[in-house]
């Protein structure tokens, strides 16, 4: 695993009265333990990977409390685990990256929501939206609406988040409904503090097991139960949820306050998602309408629960005001539309301001927020300034309202000074990444054979779509690469290639991809990047990982054996770093008369994980005086002509450029910096592509023995005599 949480585990043991200082997602983990969960599961992915990672490291604590923890094979598996709460009064929580994880989980979630739950079932949703996101920009809100699960969106500070998680279990039990708690990226990674409670060991657990299974046909999703379940949702569960939310005051109303002798602006109001609270307060501060502690002249209604809405609370907040601003990040703007409907039903004439491109609303008339995109500090400030300008609240500081204009001017001036936009720096393959050589080989294949369609998959290997490779024509979902190629292959006059990681293979590729392809006698080529871990999400273990932790020692789930068992007849294993060989096997797969799925297992351990393992070992050896040979690569600047073709076939961060020492050469020459881990790709590529003779491998012998030193001495003597300056 990329990060060890040995220190953080101590935080999970804190007691009543202790103060927790740490990351948001770890606070959630502590909240789960304080809520008496019997089981926890999930599937890794930013921004909630740390929740899974810390639990994996906290086995001891979990065992003491009897809590069952599972690193599920997929989000579908995690969601299905919540079935334990349908018949039995046990609390459980699962987590994943959303919306992608929720997509995968939605089959189980829809069934779960229909059956209803007896024990509290909570889903921690890492809403991967906006800056730093790596997925399509959608909202999880729609999932809550379609299955009628409740959605919490707490204010992004640790006490609020922890309280929301605890209340989510109570809400779930009070309304027999699964509850989702949504945390945005920065809220997951926010560092803050909260006052702890004692952990609560579950009444039913691995230490206190059940004896009698419960049967109730009413919980089975089949007619007529399914019809009754739908009615139950509307007639019982929903009203119960609304009642609970009101009673527990999960949503918060902040009346306007006087600041610096200026009165509250009670004609105005802001209705906002809890997660937007801090951004709204900051914008109000910048406009001189709130103080550092959050006291605001403008009244606020903060929805820590964004589904279901509470009509009575909303009409009560809006009725007395001339206008209200709705702060709802993401689209479609479900909340804004619902609020329109609620106010109309209640015949409240308060004017609503919200998204500028809301359908049916003339542009610029009542809209202040952009329809799409994250509500960053800049967007928030501009929108609030627009709202206050449009409503013409008296006594507002015009100087402050002009802040967005000053920002725009500042950016314009910066653009002028910089002349050209600075180069983008997207994430890419690490130094020495074992996936890079496979794409080098694919690039070489393209050179000899022309281009071919590549169906990509989710994982680090999708970085191939960026320069310098620009490989990957489509990407459809985790583990879905091969399935997504199934109609593309037959429609081409040549074969196409699918790239899938071992993470994707175990997640969904095995069933949706390989079994489908073998069953349908697909003629495609599948390259499986077997780097040993779920690398993009933080190098978590997979069933086929080479170095398993204690819990998984007994497992031996090899990809090759699995494929053979499924009837894959054409399978080759290649060592990624041998580019020439990989190229030869790719060529063979393209040209073989064999009709059927051809699988190339591209083997090379994730370099992040490998270095993490080897570095301390080698450092220790050198310290002890043992012989260690350090390998790294280099470029001769004498012979490098600065054409950079090596870079166009590699993109390794440590293969870079520098000014040429040659006064005649103006173009920079290639250069290997000290980040080099000695994977050897640059040398292999220069061979496979017949690039240039500039690459060399250097082997530095630390703690050389007597024989090493003797040889070096003789060589130096002989070469020294013959060598020109």
């Amino acid at each position: 695993m990329e990060r060890s949480f040995k220190e953080e585990i101590k935080l999970l043991r804190l007691k009543q009265g202790d103060t927790f200082h740490g990351e948001g997602i770890l606070a959630v983990t502590k909240a789960l333990l304080q809520s008496g969960v019997s089981y926890v599961g999930g599937y890794q992915g930013a921004p909630i990977s740390h929740l899974i990672d810390v639990l994996a490291d906290a086995r001891e604590l979990m065992d003491e409390m009897g809590i069952h923890f599972e690193a599920n094979a997929s989000e579908a598996g995690a969601a299905a685990m919540l079935a334990a709460s349908i018949n039995y009064p046990v609390r459980g929580a699962v987590t994943w990256k959303s919306t992608v994880g929720t997509n995968v989980a939605s089959d189980a979630l829809a069934n779960l929501a229909s059956s209803g739950v007896k024990g509290g079932a909570v889903i921690i949703i890492g809403e991967d939206y906006g800056e730093g996101s790596s997925i399509m920009q959608e909202r999880s809100h729609a999932f809550a609406m379609k299955s009628q699960m409740w959605l919490l969106d707490p204010r992004p500070n640790l006490p609020s988040i922890v309280r929301s998680v605890e209340k989510a279990f109570e809400l779930s039990e009070a309304s027999n409904t699964p509850v989702m708690v949504e945390l945005r990226i920065r809220a997951c990674h926010v560092h803050g503090a909260f006052e702890c409670k004692d952990n609560r060991p579950p009444a039913i657990s691995r230490l206190a097991t059940m004896t009698e299974p419960a049967f109730d046909y009413g919980n089975i999703v089949l007619p007529p139960s399914s019809y009754a379940q739908e009615k139950h949702k509307i007639e019982k569960r929903w009203p119960a949820a609304v009642e609970f939310i009101k009673r527990e005051r999960l949503n918060e109303t902040f009346a306007g306050e006087s600041l610096d002798g200026q009165g509250a602006l009670t004609d105005l109001g802001i209705v906002l998602q809890g997660g937007m609270y801090n951004a709204v307060i900051r914008a109000l501060q910048q406009l001189g309408l709130a103080d550092a502690y959050g006291a605001s002249r403008v009244p606020l209604y903060v929805m820590n629960v964004t589904y279901p809405l509470i009509p009575e609370e909303l009409t009560a907040f809006c009725a007395s005001r001339k206008s209200v601003l709705v702060v709802e990040e993401g689209q479609p703007n479900y909340i804004e539309d619902a609020l329109h409907a609620i106010l109309r039903r209640a015949d409240v004439q308060t004017r609503l301001y919200g998204k500028e491109e809301a359908i049916g609303v003339p542009a610029g008339e009542t809209g202040v927020f952009p329809m799409a995109g994250e509500y960053t500090g800049e967007v928030m400030l501009r929108a609030l300034a627009r709202y206050f300008a449009a409503t013409g609240a008296a006594g507002l500081d015009t100087e402050r309202l002009a802040a967005p204009q000053r920002t725009a001017d500042l950016k314009k001036r910066a653009a002028e000074l910089l002349g050209a936009p600075v180069p983008n720096r997207p994430p890419g393959f690490c130094v020495g990444c074992p996936e890079r050589p496979v794409f080098s080989a694919m690039k070489l294949l393209e050179r000899e054979a022309g281009s071919y369609h590549v169906s990509a998959d989710i994982g680090c290997h999708l970085f191939s779509s960026l320069p310098p490779f620009n490989i990957g024509n489509t990407v459809l979902g985790y583990g879905l690469g091969l399935a997504s190629n199934s109609a593309i292959g037959p429609l081409f006059n040549k074969r196409s290639i699918t790239v899938m990681g071992d993470g994707g293979f175990w997640h969904n590729g095995l069933s949706s991809g390989v079994s489908n392809a073998v069953f349908n006698n697909d003629d495609g080529i599948l390259v499986i990047m077997k780097n040993g871990y779920s690398s993009a999400t933080g190098t978590q273990e997979l069933p086929s990982s080479p170095h398993q932790s204690q819990e998984h020692r007994a497992t031996d789930m090899g990809i090759e054996r699995t494929l053979a068992g499924m009837g894959v007849k054409w399978m080759k294993v290649v060592d990624n770093y041998k580019v020439g060989n990989t190229l030869r096997v790719l060529r063979e797969a393209m040209t073989t008369p064999f009709n059927g799925l051809k699988v190339i297992v591209a083997e090379g351990e994730c370099q992040l994980e490998k270095q993490r393992r080897l570095k301390p070992v080698n450092a220790e050896k050198i310290k002890r005086g043992e012989r260690v040979v350090r390998v790294r690569y280099g470029v001769d600047e004498d012979t490098c002509t600065g054409d950079h073709s090596c870079i166009r076939l590699s993109g390794c961060p440590s293969l870079t450029i520098k000014d040429s020492a040659d006064p005649l050469r103006l173009d920079p020459v290639a250069h290997v910096n000290n980040g080099c881990v000695g994977c050897g790709l640059c040398g292999e590529v220069s061979h496979a592509a017949t690039l240039c003779p500039s690459f060399f491998r250097a082997e530095i012998v630390h703690n050389a023995g007597a024989w090493d030193r003797f040889k070096a001495k003789i060589r130096a003597a002989v070469i020294g005599v013959l060598q020109p300056a």
């Binding site: 990674h189 910089l418 600075v422 000899e448 022309g450 280099g634 012979t639 870079i647 005649l664 020109p724």
Partner: protein, 520 residues
């Protein structure tokens, strides 16, 4: 932070750190947070690591309240999770272009102290072009000096390397200095160093890095890149006949060609250059640039040259230095050489070379003759092999490669000489097309093909009328060929002048696709 406003003491100090994945930005945020917590200052930090940790650009954002906690939980400040343009007090960038990105996004304003490293880590898009695709870092420095209230710019990578630590420790030192100097927060140097000690990993090196950063932060002087010292012209090399602006390059050209072959070859270089210099009516640029590319071209990298350069003493020393091997540590150098059919045939006399090449291709030996070799230059046998090849210098003038290169050089020179009397600019642009001749093997072939194509159509052909228009077209075509050596951009550029794109290359591989009836 430069101005003290009325609400200064009730507003959090905002710190935005821009770093690249793997540079320790997270550790820096941890240190800052620990210092604030130890000083009982309310603090919040966030980040968006995601997959950006895989070498991409990422940011960490902290807000620290300048007043110690009052104890009443209701009176805790509300911190923002995202930085707002125009609202950042301290902008810290671990690399120069990341400071540029921060300015582009509006995070550097008059209230901002900008702390940035001046070193560059090039983005892939800057490294890829065949020429020089680097972003002009001086623009970032100029922009920083205008936009930031205060700018602390220095080479953090060098400071980190000297201290034997990572860049985050240096950044931390500079931040500590600025916070102390501006009294923005009640945080002391000692408290920061205590945070480093408490983290318990690589403490001494981190403290050294911190100290270097602190000194730079206190100095707060902008550092600009020093211009490269001009190379003096050695007195014994006869360059007086040339324009003063060209002499340094001419001298290097003479030295290079003599080193490459012999004095006679250097004389040939001078004679060739004189033909162009005589027509140079400008500031010497035409002579200088012709001198540059003529020297590079005449010292083309054949097998003999490569073997010679690989076995020199200076090269052994450079490698030892570059890979950070200590003097007593044995160093092995293994070369990746792969002479192919072209290289082998290129060593034969022209007529024999052509016949051999045709024969080998006919036999399908083009691939088989491409021998990947790992030559151990540090071993006696490997060294002797390369020296033997280098000793083939006497044979060079008889080789096919030599004949080919000289013919193309003459063609190039003739075009410059023909153009110069009519248009100096046209001659200059033609001279610069030699920049396309670089690399080895396929890269060299593609570059030469692009060169020939521009010559056939724009230089010697009549696709464009008028010398100025022709010079413009050559400039555009050259830039296109440098940006994309595969020649797609070049084709697009030439198409604008009505020149047909090249037909697609033949594909040697036959893709087997089963016929429909065989399937399933």
């Amino acid at each position: 932070m430069s101005t003290m406003t009325r609400d200064q003491d009730t507003r959090p100090v905002t710190i935005l750190v821009a770093a690249l994945g793997g540079e320790g930005g997270g550790v820096l945020a941890d240190w800052l947070r620990d210092v604030a917590v130890a000083a009982h200052l309310p603090v919040q930090s966030t980040s968006i690591p995601g997959v950006a940790q895989r070498t991409g650009a990422t940011t960490y954002y902290l807000e620290i309240f300048p007043r110690t906690e009052t104890g009443a939980p209701a009176k805790r400040p509300v911190f923002a999770l995202t930085p707002a343009p125009g609202n950042v007090d301290l902008m810290v960038a671990s690399e120069l272009v990341e400071a540029g990105r921060a300015m582009q996004n509006g995070f550097v304003s008059a209230r901002t102290t900008l702390i940035s490293s001046t070193h560059r880590i090039y983005a892939t898009s800057e490294k890829m072009p065949m020429g020089d695709g680097r972003y002009d870092g001086q623009r970032v420095i100029d922009a920083a000096l205008e936009l930031a209230g205060n700018a602390v710019l220095f080479d953090m990578a060098r400071a980190a390397q000297q201290a034997g630590t990572v860049i985050s420790a240096v950044m931390f030192g500079a931040i500590a200095a600025v916070l102390e100097k501006t009294r923005a927060l009640p945080i002391t140097r000692a408290a920061c160093e205590a945070a480093i000690r408490a983290s318990g990993k690589g403490v001494e090196a981190s403290l050294r890095g911190f100290s270097a950063g602190y000194a730079a932060g206190m100095g707060a002087v902008a550092e600009s890149a020093a211009p490269l010292p001009a190379t003096p012209v050695p007195a014994k090399i006869p360059t007086d006949a040339f324009h003063p602006a060209a002499r340094a390059i001419v001298a290097e050209g003479i030295r290079r060609t003599a080193d490459y072959q012999d004095d006679a070859y250097a004389t040939l270089y001078i004679r060739r250059l004189e033909r162009v210099a005589a027509l140079d009516r400008g500031d010497g640029t035409l002579t200088a640039e012709t001198a540059r590319y003529l020297a590079l071209w005449m010292s083309f990298e054949d097998v003999i040259r490569v073997a010679d350069l690989k076995t020199r003493k200076a090269r052994f020393e450079r490698v030892r230095d570059e890979v950070q091997a200590r003097p007593h540590e044995p160093l092995h150098i293994i070369e990746f050489l792969k002479p192919g059919l072209d290289e082998i045939a290129g060593m034969l006399p022209p007529s024999l070379s052509r016949r051999f090449h045709a024969w080998a291709v006919r036999r399908g030996w083009a691939e088989r003759l491409s021998l990947g070799m790992h030559v151990k230059t540090h071993s006696i046998s490997g060294f002797l092999l390369l020296r033997a090849l280098a000793g083939m210098r006497f044979w060079r003038r008889r080789t096919a490669r030599y004949a080919d290169e000289q013919a193309l050089i003459e063609r190039w020179l003739a075009a410059i000489v023909a153009a110069a009397p009519r248009s100096q600019r046209l001659a200059f642009e033609i001279a610069l097309t030699a920049r396309l001749i670089k690399g080895y093997s396929d890269t060299h072939k593609r570059g030469a093909a692009n060169f020939t194509r521009i010559f056939d159509t724009l230089v010697e052909g009549d696709a464009v009328a008028g010398d100025d228009a022709r010079a413009d077209a050559i400039f555009a075509a050259r830039e296109a060929a440098l940006a994309d050596p595969e020649g797609k951009n070049l084709d697009a550029t030439l198409t604008r002048h009505g020149i047909k794109p090249r037909p697609p290359r033949e594909q040697p591989i036959r893709f087997v696709k089963p016929a429909l009836r065989e399937r399933g």
